[in-house]
Amino acid sequence: MKHSAGSVTPLQPLRLPKIGPLGIIVWVVIPLVLIAIGIYAFAQQRLHGDVVTNMRSVGDGGAAWGLYIMFDIFFVGLAATGIAVSTGAHLFRIRDLRPLARIAEFLAVLSLILAGMCVMADQGRPMAALWKLPQFARVMSPFFGSFTLIVGVGVAASLVMLYLGGRGDAAWCARAGGPFSWVYRIWASGYRGTDRELLRHRRARFWLSLTFFPFIVIAYSTLGFVFGTQGGRPGWFGALRAPSMLIVAGISGVGLLLAIAGVLHRYLGAHNAIPVRVFQRLGNVLLILISVFLYLLAVETLTERYAGQTAALRVADAVTFGVYAPAFWTMLALLFVSMGILFVQFLARKALIGWTVIAGLLVNGAAILRRFLVVVPAQTHGHHLDYPAGFYVPGWIEVAVLLGIISIGVLAFVAFMRCFPIVPLHAYYGRMRNVLEPETQGRILLRRVLTTGSMVGGLALGAVGLALSARFGTEPFLDPIVPFSPVIFIAGIVMTIYSAAVYVIVPPG
């Protein structure tokens, strides 16, 4: 594989260099210690019951959902943005986003796994959940969307995007040798780096992005529906819940991407790969997202205050002037400070990387507080009846388990950055040289047949799984006709997604 003519830089991938003793302590030892503490805390939770957390019964002044669900939404939001950035880069041919595509894809896979861990930590019977959900998941429940679409399908699709986008670099890593070269060889098997192959990759990713882009909106909305559809829970119920969640997901995702890109730019020398204009453009996107969110927040608040329904007003009061006011005003302050930073940069038509990173981190703080304000106050104050109002702050068990989960993410991210080019090589070296690829008509036909077969088969399987799970036209409160039909549905959709990989990996002959 050769890089384009005119490039003088020797082919070197951008990946984390060997880290010194301090780096090892910060990036490896501390996360490992936190993971150990998290495992201990989770063991306590399993041994003594969820009573060791600070979550309590709704109606007893407590919140039955707390930190775990907050971060489940947070992580899924990160994943949604990761997928949006990756698919957006291919769909709308936004060249500036391409260097960030791999970070976005890996972030999506990782975040979805972490989100799954948060959900499992929240369950009263996690093992039962692992067994019963695949068997009986009900389409009627908004959880069905989160379980099947987000966690199952989201991981599959992000993996395919990551796989397709990383094959070229995997081939390079395999040639470079090292202890993991066998992994790279599997990843890149059949890859030749020819023009036609690149074209096939591009086509596959384009179509995948095309189908996947609306999927993110639908899938993430189902998470909004978990709250927004609850007519009996003032403070949750509302049509704006899903869109405003989607916007906050965008804010936190873009913010985190900016922060990671800033670190890569500054400390790992990714100047060529991630030019300053990427920060400028993403900064502007972030500015727009924050403005839209503030608009939605204003609309929501005005509607609640104007209607003045007792229970909804109780929640709104608790949030703006009551026990949750510090979280609310801090969230607003963080958003306004970030907006200020980004707006000044927008006016100056400049991006200062350090400030952009700060803005990216601040909006993530705001997004976490927003998750808290969505999940908690409606449970402690949103009662139609005269139950006492309460309060929730996470206990040490929840915090320790969550830090353990986040540490798993940090470790995985560092390991990935260490082992694989985190910015695609083509972002540095441009298009690869034209290499002719003779391909027989038979092979072309075989590729088409296999791809179409797996796509149609997957869609059919998905439809059958959905029909068996949903029992359309019958009683809505029944079990799936066949146990595990939700798995059939997921398998179908995953198979459809993997048809993109089939299209790419069939060798030219």
Binding site: V51, A64, G124
Partner: protein
């Protein structure tokens, strides 16, 4: 010798097969038999509901205690109260009244079971069908299937579901007094009032054995809370039977259901205090 052995084996097989055939035919004929009169009477479409007369209720809490002991609900003391882990299927909720008249307390106590809503938000959201509406309209719970996600608890507008935050260690002395008809729930699942479903089943079985329909009189105090209420403020029965006491109470001008605007259609009605009778 071998012939003998074979014939013994054949004999055993024949005996075995004839026993199986006998059992299968007996079961099939039972299943195919025409329903008896009592079965027909029992299969009448029911809609179980409850009416609670607040004019009669004196807030003694007998319903709460009897529900607890009938359904093996773990006892809760000040510790659980402070921790917010109280387990109650039937609670007395202080309800602030608007415009209470002279000499009346501004607060009344509402006995609160699960309302077995006709359009239950708790059932809609359950991801694994661990809670469902059974053929008699009761909102039932499968303890063993519940994964403890607590979605139903946050979806119930009346906060009538409780989560098992911890494992209950029943003291040895209590164990002998646990109700064998009601399963003990494991830690990590959600539970709620079942309208004493096990008692209803027993009542049905008795009626079927005696080949008679269930009487409204025996249904009225069927649930443990209704049975224990000294003021006869709680009445259970079939809302589909226009002559049942519960139906008549539900039709009273004093009757209303909590937060009907939510569209949950609760099957428990409250009869407001009768000012004239005071």
């Amino acid at each position: 010798m071998s012939k003998n052995k074979r014939s013994t084996r054949r004999g055993m097989m024949a005996a075995f097969m004839s026993r199986i055939v006998d059992r299968v035919t007996r079961r099939t004929s039972k299943a195919l038999a025409q329903p008896s009169d009592s079965e027909e009477l029992l299969s009448v479409e029911r809609k179980w509901g409850m009416a609670i007369d607040l004019d009669l209720c004196n807030g003694c809490g007998a319903c709460v205690v009897s529900c607890r002991s009938e359904n093996n609900v773990p006892t809760s003391g000040p510790e659980e109260e402070n921790k917010g882990t109280t387990m109650e299927w039937m609670s007395l909720l202080p309800h602030h009244k608007e415009g209470s008249g002279d000499g009346e307390l501004p607060v009344e106590l509402l006995p609160m079971p699960c309302f077995h809503c006709e359009n239950p938000p708790c059932v809609k959201v359950c991801p694994v069908n661990a809670t469902y509406v059974n053929e008699e309209g009761l909102v039932a719970q499968i303890w063993d299937r519940c994964i403890g996600c607590r979605y139903c608890t946050v979806a119930c507008p009346y906060d009538r579901r409780v989560f098992n935050w911890k494992h209950t260690d029943w003291p040895e002395t209590y164990r002998n007094f646990l109700n064998p008809d009601v399963a003990l729930r494991p830690e990590g699942v959600v539970e709620k009032c079942t309208f004493c479903h096990h008692r209803l089943r027993k009542l049905k079985e008795t009626a079927a054995l005696e080949e008679r329909p269930m009487h409204d009189g025996e249904l009225e105090t069927m649930t443990a809370c209704a049975e224990a209420c000294p003021a006869v403020a709680i009445v259970f029965g079939d809302l589909n039977d226009p002559d049942s006491r519960v139906s008549r109470m539900t039709r009273s001008p004093r009757a209303s259901r909590l937060h009907e605007h939510l569209g949950t259609k609760p099957k428990v009605s409250y009869l407001a205090k009768d000012r004239k009778s005071r």
